[in-house]
Subunit: 338 residues, 2 copies
Amino acid sequence: MSDERRLEVLRAIVEDYVQTREPVGSRTLVERHQLGVSPATVRNDMAYLEDAGFIAQPHTSAGRVPTDKGYRLFVDRLSTVKPLSSPERRAIEAFLQDAVDLDDVVDRSVRLLAQLTQQVAVVQYPSLRRSALRHLELVPLGDTRLLVVIITDTGRVEQRVLELEAPVTDVVPELRARLNAAVAGRRLAELTEPLDRMVAAFPEADRPLVHRVIRVVEDTLAEATEERIVMAGTANLARSGTDFTGTIRPVLEALEEQVVLLRLLTEMAEDSAGVAVRIGSENRHAGLVEASIVATGYGGDGEAVARIGSLGPTRMDYAATIASVRAVARYLTRILAG
Amino acid sequence: MSDERRLEVLRAIVEDYVQTREPVGSRTLVERHQLGVSPATVRNDMAYLEDAGFIAQPHTSAGRVPTDKGYRLFVDRLSTVKPLSSPERRAIEAFLQDAVDLDDVVDRSVRLLAQLTQQVAVVQYPSLRRSALRHLELVPLGDTRLLVVIITDTGRVEQRVLELEAPVTDVVPELRARLNAAVAGRRLAELTEPLDRMVAAFPEADRPLVHRVIRVVEDTLAEATEERIVMAGTANLARSGTDFTGTIRPVLEALEEQVVLLRLLTEMAEDSAGVAVRIGSENRHAGLVEASIVATGYGGDGEAVARIGSLGPTRMDYAATIASVRAVARYLTRILAG
DNA sequence: ATTGGCACTCAGGGCCGTCGAGTGCCACGG
DNA sequence: CCGTGGCACTCGACGGCCCTGAGTGCCAAT
């Protein structure tokens, strides 16, 4: 009874099931894969795998289906990422190259990934928290309103309107200059001290205004809830050979809850290859028990600035999906840096 | 043979079918509605309505189902908008009141409408083309790049980066001042002349820069393709008593094509009540032959600035949907104006 | 440990037969 | 001329029935 062979059987089951979407039995298994043993032997191995919780039968006298645990073992130990073909790579690069601004880059990326994986693609906008500041702009609007525009090195622009008690003073130009000197190129974590020092340079009377501006900048950068997510390929959920027992409704519902998605994306720990996989019930969300998510970070050198991922049925082609997600993330990172 | 009664029969058929989702026959019809005639009579009327193309039978010996033409007649002549209950109104108002910025307003509106109609809600962002400019901001990024930020009176902010041949000159502050003087409060259509006059005020050497900036502002405002659309409630497409023969896939696909959606929304002519309805095949789009759209404009006094709508199966409760769309549009307009 | 053999299980598909809602048509009466 | 009751006919939906075939577990043999 070789442990080796049992794993081989599991791999065969997963691959077969992913391809055919039908429970796979011992006979067809030995026919389609070169296992070198008889169906009876495979049956024994299957019994073992079932005891161990890697596979299950939908009903007596049916073939076996991988469980979440089975898929997990498969992606952890058995699957080898298949690199994309070089025409594919070129297509990706060309497609992303044409983007005109950040919105366009993100939009193209998410469509591209959905197209490649034939699943639902999800891209998180570059996080403000981890981005460095490029520029701050203060624009007086009327007498008592001040527009604060925040521009990050990833090209993202965020704006907030401040309602002031007192009329906007003419300290604004100086404040803009000093603010920019203090924040340029810094990240949120590195902001507090230089900003505090800066306040001291202003006369007592102007301090309230200065404080409010600083406050709104910090709040905006810290505000995790403001994270935006873009999605594409939801139609793929309804593909002909649809998976998802019953309806896709709970999945669509989960996808509309951006909060849920964000949590999922950010919580996912990455394995050594830099790609995280969450399988079925590992997603702690009722609507997603039949879904798997493959995600990775992108942007920034070293530390990722946001995440990108693909969501599909647990029965997905993990190797291909992982390859696609990785590829798009890599090109995306390159584009943003350039 | 009263024409009156035939219409009454059609109304009964539509109402019954919308409620039960089942082809309606003559007997059940007279049982459920007070038509005051016998089933046989209704059958004659039905035969007429079928000849006229307002209803159809899925198969011989089944009840009748309204056709697109039937629904059309229904919404045009037979349906009376039912006003929302006042608790509903208060809830809408309270919900929208809490919004903090434009994104939030739009987001809340679309979710709200999806919730009210139990369908897919769609909101077009306030159009740049029809908005008035509030402010322009020019921010030099490094030596040869210039960020142009455009802020409209609807609170929308758009940005573009210009790559320049020559280093950014110190004419930028002056350009900013003059630009703002020239454009403030104006709409796209009213821009050309003041901008042209303004160019003359600059020395020959700076003209190329000035022209490029003007160009990018005009382009951005004119660019219809940049229109953004926000959507919510796609999960409602997969509701239990699902309509849509076969799958919802084509509908999801159509919804992902923002271009298609935009065209639909803007093309729709409004009837006297200010609400436009497109039924089934009236949407010239293969994926939407089983869908109807109810839309109206919002924002701006007099002339609408963008559109909001709800999409569902042709078999929808038109009266209720129209009421909801109208209500949300009205509150949305009020919020944006305040 | 592996294998062939064997008895057993069970979902799915094809094949009626019944049921009932629904239709069209026609002849009759106000 | 319109509305009505009656009647013969249609046809999809539903349920029961049987058969088939893929699949299983177990056991004795190698």
